[in-house]
Symmetry: C2
Subunit: 190 residues, 2 copies
Amino acid sequence: MDIYQALRENVFKLVAFEEEEWKDFISYWRPVHIKKREYIIKEGQTEKYFYFVYRGVLRGYTTKDGDEISIGFTYDGDYSGAYDSFLAQQPSDFSMQAITDCELLRISYTDLMAMFDKYKSAERWGRIFNANILIGMARRQLEVRSFSAEERFERLATQSPHILQLVPQKYLASYLGMTPETFSRLRKKR
Amino acid sequence: MDIYQALRENVFKLVAFEEEEWKDFISYWRPVHIKKREYIIKEGQTEKYFYFVYRGVLRGYTTKDGDEISIGFTYDGDYSGAYDSFLAQQPSDFSMQAITDCELLRISYTDLMAMFDKYKSAERWGRIFNANILIGMARRQLEVRSFSAEERFERLATQSPHILQLVPQKYLASYLGMTPETFSRLRKKR
DNA sequence: TGCCGAAATTGATCTGTATCAAGTTTTTTC
DNA sequence: GAAAAAACTTGATACAGATCAATTTCGGCA
């Protein structure tokens, strides 16, 4: 499937645009290719773009006392970037780096805001999209607070086994809030 | 200030409604009084309402192995309820209980959705409101992951000293992800 | 105002996970 | 395709914060 078609299907899951509106809306999205280890945004910058991931994996992380803490990952079909920085138009607390080569589509903040002004469908899509992100964050928040390192590992391994292949272990470890050593031991124990 | 006026000012901070629209919008909100220790929602129920807190303090918590884990607190001027359950219209993973007597305004899910359909201003308010909640959650997520128990206590004490008075310590302790004993020791050390 | 149950404090001990260190394996690069 | 760098594993030790237990203090209410 073509990259614009992929975005279309994804957006239409939440809101069906009129064809005229959609043509206009999609015209503001631009394809971007980035290579493994390149960044779409670095800590301290303000996020100018909102990204759709057509192919690839990205990792978000912040730094604390020189160490990296992985915040999350995005895959094919996800949206990416420092979304809170984008929304607030404030400097980001984290960086977003490609773990594999990526094909992305992006729209600028100004263009997206213009779309929100212009079309009620876009406004609605924005609201529901935010709601869905929020629901996911709430779920993850509860997850982190309710489970021990071992339990979190176990849940990741059973619920998202593909991640174990895609993402280097040291990133997964810090995502789960443990050291690579602990991660390695839990994996062995399994 | 009057309870409806308080909500009006709060909503208008994000979006200025037309007067006609506002009159219609506000007519769907109903005042609710609840007493200390009463619940607005219990774990397992689906949240039917979205609340505005005019006066009072509420606590959200989930249960794990019989122990309560406090998720968050809402105060005068906040919105409350199990918002993720409300948005998804799925059973809530946590309960929301009054810590003091509370005066609230609430609107039902059906009525709010009808307002979103009817007015672009409402839709926009919904989008921006969700964005703000999301930004707050992202900040807190980073907070929990980047700091030790002692650092989290210190930050709470300096950034929100009023909470230390308003909320019983055992709730704050579990909110910060530590036992009441640890909380007590950190407080003493200060 | 005084009583009772809940909340907070304090001390002693335990434990899961971090840290440090030394290999081994995998990936990158030239 | 060999050398260098990075990632992962494994073992030994350290420690922050949990748990358990015994008082003390506080808050609600008769």
